[in-house]
Amino acid sequence: MSSQNGCYRLVPGVRVRPVPELETCVVFTPADPRLYRLNLNAWLILELCQGLSPEALAQAYLEAVPPTPDAEAQLDQGLATLLESGIVEQCQP
């Protein structure tokens, strides 16, 4: 479900606290006050949501993860999860 029309970015105000020693990061979404713990894969996707075009984001992701058949599907799944959680939002490139 990678956006074909827009890019992804961190929702303004959302706070991200990396915990590299535990290979995770903790995210706070103030608009809907919740804490989330992202695993390594979701953390990577979040960090790549910096306004890249969908193609550039997918390319950067696929270059970073082990080459597995389900990598693209995992990217879509991760983006959907981050969108649903209010951690990232879609934007215009």
Binding site: V16, P18, P20, E23, V26, V27, R34, L35, Y36, R37, L38, N39, L40, N41, A42, W43, L44, I45, E47, A64, V65, P66, T68, Q74, Q77, G78, T81, L82, S85, I87
Partner: protein, 179 residues
């Protein structure tokens, strides 16, 4: 995150043969301190001192103390025997050396518990008042016998990252200020 942090993140991933599917798990924060009860003078009418009813119940040993503190902690397995020997030799002296209003109520091995991470030992302190609790911390920083024994007791605590620990401060429910 800076670009160097992103590179480090990528490095953590590159060292793996596979990657778990992305997840964002909502955390349920657990706040246990000051959530329900205000720490006040236990039934007190004067700052730091318990009310007469609480004093009477403490005196006749119905209550453990006007304020009770329970430490939970682990002692490393290899120090268990030495810890037991230290207690046999020093518990009475620790109790006797405690400041006025501070009552050492013993150290216990946890025979059974439903809690998983509160440690294998408990040490119980009972205080005649909130002032006495403060007095203990002041005395613990001194150089007298109490301070020495207090430190020796605490030196047995397992301070490692994975060690279990807990602390509870209890006040008589009859005098608790609920919020």
């Amino acid at each position: 995150m800076s670009s160097s942090d992103l590179e480090r993140l990528k490095g953590m991933i590159k060292s793996r043969d596979s990657l778990d599917a992305p997840t964002a798990v909502a955390l349920d924060p657990e706040v246990r301190t000051g959530e329900t009860f205000i720490l006040t003078d236990p039934g007190g009418t004067r700052a730091g001192e318990p009310g007469a009813n609480i004093k009477a119940l403490v005196k006749n040993k119905t209550l453990v103390g006007a304020v009770t503190m329970v430490w939970g902690y682990d002692v490393a397995l290899e120090h268990g025997d030495r810890f037991g020997a230290w207690l046999r030799d020093n518990e009475a002296a620790l109790a006797a050396a405690a400041p006025k209003g501070v009552n050492y109520r013993g150290t216990y091995a946890v025979f059974s518990t439903t809690e998983k991470h509160t440690g294998n030992y408990r040490t119980i302190w009972a205080y005649d008042s909130l002032n006495a609790l403060q007095a203990m911390y002041a005395a613990a920083g001194g150089t007298d016998e109490f301070a020495t024994l207090f430190k020796q007791l605490n030196d047995f605590r397992d301070r490692s990252r994975d060690a279990n620990r807990a602390q509870e401060i209890l006040v008589p429910a009859a005098a608790a200020g609920r919020i």
